[in-house]
């Protein structure tokens, strides 16, 4: 076999996932449920989901808060949706400003939550084609 047809064993084909950004800046049930359903649906169809919680929604990520959105007629369980997002490698990101703004301690956040500045998030979200803001 000539050298030019040798297989490069180090080469691996990697399919690039498309990114979906779901922003949330409110803590009312309509906004929270719409955002989390959208994120879970995106993760289910193979999108790389990045949820970004702005200060207006920071409280939602405190342990025990998501449970308050349970039992809304006809809507799925937000805890299961949240788990499905994280299991499917979705990222849950809180804007750093939300901590002092809402008096939240980092240790009170759900385990999967990453905290970063908006500017860092924008780097992470670079290339996202779909952005949904609630």
């Amino acid at each position: 076999m000539s050298e030019e047809f040798e297989v490069n064993e180090e080469f691996e084909y990697e399919e690039e996932e498309s990114k979906m950004v779901v922003m949330l800046n409110h803590s009312d049930p309509d906004s929270v449920m719409a955002a989390i359903v959208m994120a879970a649906a995106g993760a289910a169809i193979g999108e790389q989901v990045l949820m970004f919680f702005q200060p207006g929604a920071a409280k939602v990520l405190v342990k025990g808060e998501l449970e308050k959105y349970r039992d809304i007629q006809g809507l799925p369980d937000p805890i299961k949706l949240y788990e499905s997002i994280t299991i499917l490698d979705g990222r849950i990101i809180l804007c750093e400003l939300g901590l002092p703004n809402k008096g939240i301690k980092e240790e009170d956040l759900l385990d999967e939550v990453e905290v970063m500045m908006a500017s860092s998030f924008l780097f992470e979200a670079d290339g996202a084609k779909a952005v949904y803001s609630y």
Partner: protein, 120 residues
């Protein structure tokens, strides 16, 4: 082939539906293929008689005409299936039989590749 635009309505106030319809119509004018989605919170706007209650808001276009143009031109208008139980809605009450009732994943797959997404 036209580019895709997604417009989501997630509220039951005129400030939710009017910009959603205006953006969708503007997308049509720019030759986008528009995918319009009613979340449960915006469900009422997909029902008979609700857009009519808005009349023609001062300085704004008529929402019924905007909606009819959107759907007459064959663009996909989807009602989130979760909204049926959440808002106790009978599918027979949809304002247009061409409104598709389905869950989010199939909608997102149809709209895949959209270059613009707007949520109101």
């Amino acid at each position: 082939m036209s580019e895709k635009m997604v417009v989501v309505c997630n509220g039951d106030e005129s400030k939710n539906i009017m910009p959603a319809l205006i953006f969708a119509s503007s997308g049509l004018a720019l030759d986008y293929e528009v995918y319009f989605f009613f979340c449960p919170a915006g469900a009422k706007w997909a029902l008979k008689g609700e857009l009519e209650k808005l009349g023609t808001p001062k300085g704004l276009p008529n929402p019924v005409e905007l909606f009819n143009t959107l759907i007459d031109l064959g663009n996909k208008v989807t009602f989130c299936e979760l909204g049926l139980e959440n808002k106790d809605i009978d599918p027979k009450d949809m304002r247009d039989e061409r409104i598709v009732i389905e869950k989010l994943p199939p909608f997102l797959m149809d709209a895949e590749g959209a270059t613009m997404t707007y949520t109101f």
